[in-house]
Symmetry: C2
Subunit: 349 residues, 2 copies
DNA sequence: CTGTTAGCGCTTTCAA
DNA sequence: TTGAAAGCGCTAACAG
């Protein structure tokens, strides 16, 4: 039995306050409020009333210190400003906040140092789990993660990653795009890849060469150009591709940003899309809440849609599952993509 | 002087572990590590070495319990999926993470119950401050907030709000739009408002009527139609506006989503934009990383840009300032908007 | 300059 | 069925 120190300050009431109020011990209050352990029904009611009346709410901090569980998770994201990420985050949020977890959201800006600092800070805060969205996990980060709470990777994953992973079916995506173009008669198809350090980019690139081979199309030198997912890299790539002979009749861009910049470049150089060149994107980043077309009705980008929201939900669920049973078998979840044929692809001239 | 309980488990080392390792008291370790208080330089070095070697990191939780400060802030957002919000969040993140705060990001989905639950949970976690982005603050939420940590409002604010606020200059935005249209010869201008519960929407609406009066334009009945910021409301509003006689020659939409849906509707009904009707948006939601135009080069929406990133930064700074000096004078920060003239406005026919 | 002590608010044995 | 007591890991006042 303890006395609260001062009664004048208007601070959050603690268990001690309630205990005093009811003339009971803190232990009894704890039992009554948590519902576990025996406590006289009348007193229990009394305690609940007092708690409600005084507006008592348990301190998450104190509980966390005691139980070593914080009911919080960390989410690492490259850049919240890139429209595909908020969708994923939303999916994660939907499932984890239903499980009463709160999210620490952190931007890494594709910066390994920041990534490391953020993981440290998350561990210092003792998050119960971590989700890394499209992160290239550095060795240092990896090392930290190993001794930390469960984590799941979304989109990207290191070469031989043994843990939980959720990602889109990149091979399927590339196949959908290529079959569409092949069906339109395209044979000279170029590909602007993502950065080599992105596993997703590598997977797509490999799928591209494999699928082209399967379709019996050769890939002339210069048709594979490396970009970095930034719009600006599309401009350089497009320039290089226009210089190729023979010139490609279709260009697959690493993502929608790059695709749009390619289209801009082509326009500036007197080429019409899709008449003179077919161009496709990746992600369906701009769709947002619109169903069929892009913001402006004029023209829509042919692209392949990743199930972004679902990626987030799956990741959230995978993490919850892992936190519940740390030694359950590893899960790898690959979700199907869907092709959206719009206005930037046409039969090969 | 204390003994650590068990030494086999590979857990995070605590101060006690370091103290034992160095044969010193925890207090000394604490002083050495925190840098405050005197401690023998040699021992200090020793302690730092041990800490580094053992990979010691202070527990944020324990510190928070002791100091009652968590170095975390809560950010409430309506829907992270709406492209204007990530920009704001990014701005907040930039400044607060530089100040070593971590962000709890929470979606409220414009739902008052969720808003309340989230604020409760944030208070339970003892965040040091809260930023509410575009929230209609319910009375219950308001009451909670009053006894909580400092908070700042962004975009929306309740009728008579006495606290810190950061928002765009809505009057300026409307003026820019109207002067542009007026200059093009438009006189019959309609306005699709945002929902009445949004203070931002109300401010814009009031500015609209005021400005129209100033320009000497009357607002025929039916020219002011209430929407709710959702694309779909643009459809209904457009339908209503087409039925007006005389028909307006220009439509101001509450935001870009609504504007696009209006344009879609007009197209479907055989009207060309901007030839037959000028349409403007609000927010420049789609700009993202592109400078001049919308995703596709075909056509860009004439709209007024809110300084989203800057709104976030200002809010972050205002919160930091408030946390540092809780009784500094209240700050109201209004940031200028900029008009982006693109392809959906033209001289009145 | 260093150690002892108390305590943040909660959970959880262990006795009574 | 209840209370006493210990302790999560840290900070800070105080004594030495």
């Amino acid at each position: 039995m303890r006395q609260p120190r001062d009664s004048t300050a208007i601070k959050r009431p603690t268990m001690t306050d309630i205990a005093c109020e009811c003339g009971l011990s803190r232990a009894t209050v704890a039992r009554a409020l948590s519902g576990k352990g025996y406590v006289n029904p009348e007193r229990k009611a009394l305690i609940h009333q007092a708690a409600a009346r005084m507006g008592y709410r348990a301190s998450t901090i104190a509980r966390a210190l005691r139980t070593q569980r914080t009911s919080s998770i960390g989410v690492l994201i490259a850049d919240i400003t890139n429209p595909i990420f908020p969708e994923i985050v939303k999916g994660i949020d939907e499932v984890v906040s239903a499980g009463d977890y709160t999210i620490f959201l952190c931007n890494t800006d594709e910066d390994a140092r920041k990534q490391l600092a953020i993981i440290r800070s998350l561990l210092d805060r003792q998050v119960d789990g971590i989700i890394l969205v499209s992160q290239t996990v550095s060795d240092e980060s990896q090392a930290l993660l190993k001794n930390g709470p469960p984590y799941v990777l979304v989109n990207r994953r290191p070469a031989r990653h043994g843990g939980d992973y959720v990602g889109p079916d990149n091979a399927m995506a590339v196949r959908q795009l290529l079959e569409h173009l092949y069906g339109l008669g395209h044979r000279r198809i170029a590909y602007i890849t993502g950065p080599a350090q992105s596993s997703t980019a590598r997977e797509r690139r490999d799928s591209f060469t494999a699928e082209m081979a399967r379709l019996g199309c050769s890939i002339p030198p210069g048709y594979l150009v490396e970009g970095n997912y930034q719009a600006e890299s599309g401009r350089r790539a497009a320039e290089a591709l226009l210089a190729c002979t023979p010139r490609p009749t279709a260009i697959l861009a690493a993502n929608d940003f790059v695709a749009l910049e390619v289209i801009s470049f082509l326009h500036e150089h007197g080429l019409q899309v899709p008449e003179d060149m077919s161009v496709t994107g990746f992600d369906d980043a701009f769709k947002m809440r619109f169903s069929g077309r892009y913001p402006l009705p004029a023209q829509g980008l042919t692209t392949v849609d990743q199930p972004k929201r679902e990626l987030g939900r799956s990741a959230g669920n995978a993490l919850l599952a892992r936190m519940a049973r740390p030694d359950a078998p590893v899960r790898t979840i690959i979700l199907p993509t869907t092709l959206n044929i719009r206005d930037t692809t046409a039969p090969a001239g």
